[in-house]
């Protein structure tokens, strides 16, 4: 910082603590950090004697980077190698637990197909080059001398948070651009938009464990959701409460969460909003007070009587009544919307109808409570969406971009073929991928910079869903880089900031020095009982978690107008395509991890490949048996995969899981299975512009081939043996209700 006239406000901002009064007011730090501190070379964890004790494993805290949830981890380090991940018990997000993806993070770190050297496109082909040459190229294209300034530069990333986000924003600003495309296929963007409009906060907290009934319209909260481990824990509390919570899941294809439902209801895709209004109709005609709703909404609800609703949704009137009665009788409840409700041209409207139930049932304030903002808003996660993918494709088509930097996202893989992204990005003269792996996007870039793995790098993160106790989770190296020619993402950001001569950053030798200064500059309120900055830093690295305060937060309910379209069949394409997401492969980013390829899909039990889920009736109609290949064709392409037949999928639905079908991405992923995202129609939700992931109509035909479908289970049924025994909830409430057995 020396020699620069950086005022304290700006200083806190570049360190990530700016933006909210609390941070500044509580700060008792001098306004600058000395160079000496910044130069601190040796950190405890890097001293060999501390972590190479022969035969003794030591645990170090860090953060899981396998999904945006940001769980705290402990890595077991022995003889300089990290061997095993466990959850960090101090994390308010995952309290010591990890999901299967978190467990498998090690296989990304030790992946045999990691990038080892920078690659530069020369004469059409990516060629290994030195870092000097790579950085010279970078400087030539984006350095000050390049003259590049403004919106022709962009970042394209996955969800980012913490200090990487701070530096990334600073870099973007230094380029004079506001173009930051943040893309995630698995997102809750539509729900956020509705929440903002109806509840006054985009991401309120959901108190699953306080709900007596959870009605979920396709929200896969224990699976491919915002914070799988956090909600799995809430789920366990919900199930052991007195009385035991009831889970009703309504969706076109059974998700992992649906796999635990007491009542699982198949619904015709796109009619979720209709069902919600049908339930509202039952509630209002059975004594639930709707006088607070505007007249127009009450009229709308009264138009959705049982017969009409049952006809449109395919859910029997009895069942609608039963669900509604459960919600009415057991208060408070919680009604959730997920991907299958969001992913339509009228997704926003459906989610609004679903959210209306929470208002009607009085759940707001009970099971949905304000989240507020973090004390340090700059640190908060910028959640991804698909709107930005479309905007990016559009900008590329318009030749509006000269240079794009990619990190943590693989749009060439996730973009539907109809977007023509692979072609359109050729309009971008210089594409740089910051990546560990040769994924589809990296392989179509012009410069590929190999970055350190999540277990080798420094960073800070805030999970995309923050429970009551908000926190920043520290990412620290669990071992020395396997490939000496890879660099830290934060280090690269810092180098690029310096190259752009951004004030305030030149004093930091590296990202580590920057982070350390940043933590020294935290207000005393955050530092707890630490006696010095050094002490606080040491404690922070040891704990891995810094708890931060919440600012503000309130919910206000507003019933908005809802417009549900007429439901239309398409006789030329009779089936609805469900590109299902699952905990494991996620959006395809984990297809290169052999443990996860060999971990059976939780529902179908298939391993290593793609499959197509169909209902027995549909199978009979198509004349297919398990293992037969069927061709699923939309207007925009076709995929072929083997059939798995079961009753957890609507007869009008063809479900193909995401995750496979990679054209690049190393030996475990490449050329395996199919990618359903490729055949999606590029329709969007009218209100939010989000890709309507569940709105594609398809035909399905027997492809005339058959192979053994490779899966775990020989038997789909228990054949009458007492393998999984079942007891009714009333018995459970009687015998164990309220008892803390052990």
């Amino acid at each position: 910082m020396s020699g620069n006239n950086v005022n304290r406000r700006d200083f806190l901002k570049i360190l990530g603590w700016g933006g909210v009064g609390v941070a500044v007011a509580g700060c008792d730090r001098p306004t600058t950090v000395t160079l000496e501190e910044g130069k601190e070379e040796v950190v405890a964890y890097l001293q060999p004697e501390e972590y190479v004790i022969p035969g003794v494993g030591v645990w170090f805290a860090s953060t899981c980077q396998q999904c945006p949830a940001g769980c705290g981890v402990h890595g077991r380090v022995r003889e300089g190698r990290v061997l095993k991940m466990e959850g960090n018990p101090d994390s308010p997000i995952n309290y010591g637990k990890l999901c299967q993806m978190g467990q498998a993070g090690l296989q990304g770190h030790y992946n045999p197909d990691r990038l080892k050297k920078p690659l530069l496109r020369k004469g059409g082909a990516l060629t290994e080059v030195s870092w000097e040459e790579a950085m010279a190229q970078l400087d030539q294209k984006v350095g000050i001398a390049s003259g590049l300034n403004g919106e022709r530069f962009a970042w394209f990333t996955g969800t980012v948070s913490g200090h990487q986000s701070v530096l990334l924003s600073a870099h973007l600003a230094s380029m004079g651009s506001k173009n930051h495309f943040v893309h995630e296929v698995i997102n809750d963007a539509v729900v956020r938009a509705v929440n903002q409009d109806m509840l006054g906060e985009a991401a309120p907290r959901y108190l699953l464990d306080q709900a007596k009934v959870v009605l979920s319209f396709g929200a896969d909260f224990v699976g491919a959701g915002a914070s799988p481990v956090y909600f799995a824990n809430s789920y366990a509390k919900f199930r052991t409460a007195t009385p035991r919570g009831v889970l009703i899941q309504v969706e076109p294809k059974m998700t992992l969460t649906g796999g635990s439902a007491d009542l699982w209801v198949a619904i015709r895709p796109g009619t979720e909003g209709v069902l919600a209004l049908g339930i509202a109709n039952y509630l209002t005609t059975n004594g639930v007070d709707a006088s607070g709703l505007p007249e127009s909404l009450r009229a709308l609800i009264s138009g959705y009587g049982p017969d009409k609703v049952s006809k449109i949704t395919g859910v029997s009137a009895d069942r609608v009544a039963r669900i509604a009665a459960l919600l009415k009788d057991r208060s408070p409840s919680l009604v959730l919307a997920g991907a299958s409700a969001e992913g339509h041209a009228h997704g926003y409207q459906s989610v609004a109808a679903i959210t209306l139930l929470n208002i009607l049932l009085g759940n707001v304030g009970k099971t949905i409570v304000p989240s507020g903002a973090s004390q340090f808003p700059q640190m908060e996660a910028k959640p991804g969406n698909t709107r930005d993918l479309l905007a990016f494709a559009n900008a590329a088509e318009q030749k509006a971009l000269d240079v794009v930097f990619f990190h943590g996202a693989n749009p060439v893989y996730t973009a539907p073929a109809a977007l023509g992204l692979a072609e359109k990005i050729k309009n971008i003269p210089f594409k740089v991928a910051f990546s560990c792996f040769p994924d589809e996007t990296a392989m179509s870039a012009d410069l590929v910079l190999p970055i350190l793995s999540a277990h080798e790098d420094w960073g800070t993160h805030m999970g995309v869903y923050q429970p009551e106790q908000k926190s920043i989770s520290i990412q620290q190296p669990l071992m020395e880089p396997i490939y000496p020619d890879s660099k830290g993402f934060g280090d690269l950001l810092l180098v690029m900031l310096k190259a752009r001569k951004v004030t305030g950053f030149d004093g930091f030798e590296d990202y580590y020095a920057y982070l350390k200064s940043a933590f020294a500059a935290l207000p005393a309120s955050v530092k707890g009982d630490a006696v010095s900055d050094e002490d606080f830093w040491g404690k922070t690295l040891q704990k891995g978690i810094v708890k931060v305060a919440t600012v503000g937060g309130s919910l206000s309910t507003k019933a908005i107008e809802i417009n549900l379209p007429e439901f239309k069949e398409d006789s030329s394409r009779p089936y609805h395509l469900v590109p299902s997401a699952r905990l494991g492969m996620w959006d395809g980013r984990h297809a290169n991890l052999p443990w996860l390829q060999e971990a059976p899909d939780q529902i179908s039990k298939v391993v290593w490949t793609s499959w197509v889920e169909v209902h027995p009736q549909t199978a009979a109609k198509l004349g297919v048996k398990e293992g037969d290949f069927i061709k699923v064709a939309s207007e925009h392409g076709a995929v072929e995969a083997q059939v798995y037949i079961y009753k957890g999928v609507h007869p009008d639905v063809i479900a193909v899981p995401m995750g496979q079908g990679h054209e690049e991405y190393g030996r475990y992923a490449k050329g395996r299975g199919v990618n359903p995202l490729k055949v999606l129609a590029p329709a969007t939700d009218a209100k939010t512009g989000e890709l309507a992931l569940y709105a594609t109509r398809v035909t399905a035909t027997h492809a005339g081939r058959r192979e053994l479908l490779v899966k775990l289970m020989g038997n789909e049924t228990q054949l009458g043996r007492k393998m999984v025994a079942t007891v009714k909830a009333e018995v459970f409430n009687r015998t164990e209700g309220g008892k803390d057995v052990a």
Binding site: A236, T726, T735
Partner: protein, 333 residues
């Protein structure tokens, strides 16, 4: 327990507790699996791969059931307790199938053409219509979720896998564990044929030749071996973790404390569905749960005072005396 000891007490090892088998244990590591909490998420299974050097076998070998998932999550679509199907009075599936055809079907042997069971046993095979009628809920759609079942070696105290081993490579430890001595194993696979839970996994190949291409091998846990072709293996209750905990306790001159360590699966389970501990320690969580649910070891049939309690052991009627108690799945019906 030495080979000598095993040979001397051979006949006692072959017996369950009911017949006065050998049960002078130091610890009895046991588990509880609460199916009311389990969501079938697989975290436990992947944690086991990471901890125990389980090789990934690849699609072709998986197709031949040559995979090595010591902890696997089974998933069933039906719930015999909630369905009008008669629960099997015996563990013999074939007998049950033969004697319990669905209404309107003739009881036939599964192998006989035209048997409704033929389709049952061969997914997608003949008799498909009937199969569709049998699996899952009775109606047209699945009415409730799946029935997930985490299955790891049940560490039976009267392990049917043990007495059949011609070289005593599989034996019982003073900790009440069913252990496998890799170096002694000759690959006869008798044990695996005799495990009613199908929880033993055989190294048909030298998996290490392709399971950990560099640098994936750097992740291997040095606390235990990588097994080679011809050797049987299975869940050990993370015996290497038990070893460390016992050594530490000994060095500090104290008993192993309940909860001071856990197996890899139990440690990571996001819902806390799995509990691990010492059944000989009356204050351990597992002991308390077994007591609460009135499940006792050394029995082929539990005689519970409160029949509604959820604890049960899978196929205990076979006199395997498992160390794992399951708690019944709960459904709002």
């Amino acid at each position: 327990m030495s080979l000598n000891n095993i040979l001397t007490n051979w006949s006692r090892y072959r017996k369950g507790a009911e017949e006065g088998g050998f049960h002078e244990y130091e610890h009895q590591w046991g588990m509880v699996v609460d199916l009311n909490k389990c969501i079938g998420c697989n975290a436990c299974s992947v944690a086991c791969y990471a901890e125990n050097n389980l090789p990934v076998v690849g699609e072709a070998r998986y197709a031949k059931s040559q995979f090595m998932s010591w902890m696997r999550i089974e998933r069933y679509w039906d719930e015999p307790d909630l369905e009008p199907y008669q629960a099997s009075p015996t563990a013999n599936v074939d007998v049950w199938i033969e004697t319990n055809p669905p209404a309107g079907k003739t009881a036939l042997k599964p192998s006989m053409p035209g048997s409704y069971a033929e389709g049952l046993l061969e997914p997608g095979g003949q008799g498909f219509e009937e199969r569709v009628g049998v699996f899952g809920t009775k109606g047209e759609m699945q009415d409730f979720g799946a029935s997930f079942l985490p299955m790891m070696c049940q560490q039976c105290h009267a392990a049917t896998c043990e007495p059949v081993c011609p070289v005593a490579a599989t034996y019982h430890t003073p900790d009440g564990l069913n252990a496998q001595v890799y170096n002694r194993c000759i690959g006869s696979r008798y044990c695996s044929n005799n495990c009613p839970y199908r929880l033993r996994y055989f190294n048909f190949w030298s998996y290490y030749e392709d399971a950990w291409p560099e640098p994936l091998h750097m992740q291997l846990n040095p606390d235990l071996a990588v097994r080679d072709k011809g050797v049987m293996e299975k869940c050990t209750f993370c015996v290497q973790r038990i070893r460390v905990a016992k050594d530490e306790a000994k060095m500090e001159n104290r008993k192993v404390r309940d909860g001071e360590f856990a197996t890899a699966c139990v440690q990571t389970c996001p819902t806390g569905a799995l509990v691990f501990g010492d059944l000989q320690d009356p204050e351990s969580r597992v002991s308390k749960l077994w007591r609460f649910h009135q499940v006792e070891q050394g029995k082929t049939k539990q005689n519970k005072q409160n029949k509604e309690l959820r604890g049960y052991r899978i196929l205990e009627g076979l006199n395997t005396d498992p160390s794992v108690m399951y708690l019944e799945r709960v459904r709002e019906v």
